[in-house]
Symmetry: C2
Subunit: 429 residues, 2 copies
């Protein structure tokens, strides 16, 4: 069996170990929630001070030019591009993931309406990230489409002549299961549908090649594995062959062909620039650059391939340790064992019967011990709650995985989670 | 005539003078562009550090609860409400002004389509802020409406039985002219139209009473007179009688009735909360709170009424000094002299004939001297360029107005602006 010493040895041998020093990990914390909000790079403090005091305070409105604010969406897009297999000047950072989904799904539906008006279905996964389904539901209602939700294993079969757009999140937020992006994109195209990929739970965590996958549209999040800070703006990519066919409906000044001409009529900018809309939150936007710098630092150490290798080693280790050291406590595994189907998180299940699975309390007890993951409630369909653990290879080590599992074992074996202070309440989790 | 000593005396007597100490005004700078980007409150540095290091760095994902991130849109909305005559829990801060306009104009058109389907016109002002017109143009095309643009003086006459929505910016960005919000709203209602007011150039600068004006929808900007920092998120207000009649189309998780239930179907939240969409940029959002704190500090000194009195005194002084001390240099006045029609900015004109008015170079020369305003290019219709000067009564003094005009006089009288380094180029201004 794996020992603590084995884990320490793996840390000592880890070629990416130095990257951890770029991040601020609070003392006593094992942070397994980078899939919800990435940890803070230490340089974010310096950058925040520079943007606020130097750029805003001293530069004032001049900083639109002198500090390069106006170029930020494109500059950050170009930093993200190599992480997702996009070309230069094909990505911009702007707005939120939900709003960017509205833009790209609107554009995809406009193409579908022109090229294949008989196709009236947007196909997605029932357990897709809810906000994606909300945006899709709204657009479908507005444009007379049906939002068809199927289970993951039924997607291929559902790709029929009625489907206009296949909308999927690459890595599932509840299970950590990863879709086969090239395979599903090819199947969608074969069936005559366009694809929209949400990379919120995969960009920066797993290698992605949008161009090689021949994807049509992609969006993603700046504050999870990209470590851009709470609510950092999101990104959007569009296959260049589609980018200029339609304008997206959020036609604000920053997406105008001549944003400072102040003409009363809208002329969309060329390429991906037309996916910009209004003025962006410059301070939050600037901090994302620091998060992306960590990936530049990882490049000489092997880049995304090395990060992926470590991510799989961390999640393999966590699964193995949980299954051995926490056996008999009613935990199951929601995340696929196959590497090709796993993102960078591990989700454990607890059965809902006889009602309360205890998962909420277990997570509260873990957090009280400094092991931060999160909890996702189950429903009648899944019959289990989820304990969710994200593994960011930029800053996590193997000994931390050992210690996290040891805390989990103690929470379960001593029934610590049954203490009243960990009982479910109406908390935001 | 007014003298420098008079201006110094007015500063000494200014009951709001202490508020200037809340702001960081760089040495040697007279900042007359707070209508584009407000100056930095000194406390923004401390707040940025706290949000980045304490809330993000140490609190990590727990800060959604422990640092109150989840309540920020509503909490900031309640800080803005008294500045615009809105009730408690009627305003949220979120997204950009352009995106919020998309939401409210969509909702207004949905009401109009149901209540008065024969009305197919959105009426606005030709010189409305361009990004507002771009958003309106897109929605009109999508929903089969005509965007009718008229001159300011023709609005009342154009309010006929075809008009569904009157969309106006309260204070014009190019001229500083302020509309009569209660009067135009009453006229629009009389004609059977709904009103959407953009308060970007008036919130925090002039007293506004949305409820007393019986306005229907309003949006506004966080980074101009509210001093929230570059690209700070925007705000949105909806008359409570309309708020729940329709959902706005950007249906993201934060506007859901139960945002943490993760249900696959969208149920809009009650009231103004449904105007939220995706995750907000928390660092930028948090800094807006500091900007709004300055208005709380102004409250015991007379609040918005006192700020308005000072704003009018500052703009009166600027107009008077320019007209006396810069006479004969081809400057005109684009801003109304009548207090009831003036926002908190003064716009000077330079004739375009014989092509280049020199306004760009004049502004560059002023900026080189530390007097920061901005330049807006003219067109065939206006036949003049604009030199734009914003006056934020929270931090500007009378002596600064004197000195700004003195710099302008020197730039003009010595023809300093004709130096090659100030010549027009393809700069972002």
């Amino acid at each position: 069996m794996i020992t603590l010493q084995d884990c320490q040895h793996r840390d000592a041998m880890d070629p990416l170990r130095s990257l951890r020093d770029l991040f601020h990990i609070p003392s006593g914390i094992i942070y397994l929630d980078g899939n919800s909000l990435g940890a803070m790079p230490k340089a974010a403090i310096t950058r925040a001070n520079a943007v606020v005091l130097q750029e805003w305070g001293n530069g004032l409105v001049r900083s639109w030019n002198s500090a390069g604010w106006f170029d930020l969406p494109q500059r950050l897009g170009n930093q993200i591009a190599p992480l997702i297999g996009a070309g230069a000047d094909q990505v911009v950072v702007t707005d939120s993931t939900s709003i960017n989904l509205y833009k790209v799904l609107s554009a995809a539906l406009a193409i579908a309406a022109q090229d294949a008006p008989q196709r009236r279905v947007v196909l997605s996964e029932r357990s897709n990230f809810p906000t994606d389904l909300y945006i899709a539901e709204g657009l479908c209602q507005e444009h007379g489409y049906t939002l068809q939700l199927v289970e993951s294993q039924d997607i291929l079969q559902a790709l029929n002549t009625k489907v206009a757009v296949l909308l999927l999140t690459h890595v599932n937020y509840r299970t950590g299961a990863m879709h086969d992006m090239p395979g599903l994109t090819a199947a969608a195209h074969q069936a005559g549908a366009l694809t929209v990929w949400d990379l919120a739970h995969s960009a920066g965590a797993v290698p992605i090649d949008l161009c090689a996958s021949r994807a049509d549209y992609a969006i993603g999040c700046g504050y999870k594995y990209l470590n851009g800070g709470p609510g950092a703006p999101a990104f959007v990519w569009v296959d260049p062959q589609h980018a200029e066919r339609f304008r997206q409906p959020l036609s604000g000044w920053w997406g105008h062909a001549a944003p400072f001409a102040f003409t009363p009529d809208y002329q969309p900018a060329a390429g991906i620039q037309r996916y910009l809309c209004g003025t962006q939150p410059i301070v939050s936007l600037s901090l994302l650059e620091i998060g992306l710098d960590a990936f530049a630092a990882a490049e000489p150490l092997g880049g995304m391939a090395a990060l992926r290798t470590k991510s799989l080693a961390l999640t393999d280790l966590f699964i193995e340790l949980v299954e051995h050291r926490c056996a008999g406590f009613g935990l199951g595994l929601a995340t696929p064992r196959a590497h090709s189907q796993r993102g960078s998180q591990v989700c454990l299940t607890r059965e809902l019967t006889p009602g309360d699975s205890g998962a909420f309390a277990i997570m509260q007890a873990l957090i009280a011990r400094g092991v931060i993951g999160d909890y996702r409630a189950g429903d009648k369909r899944t019959l289990h709650d989820i304990l969710r653990f994200g593994f960011t290879p930029l800053y996590l080590g193997y000994e931390e995985v050992w210690n996290a599992v040891e805390h989990l074992r103690l929470v379960l074996s001593t029934e610590e989670w049954k203490k009243p202070e960990f009982a479910p309440r109406n908390a935001v989790t």
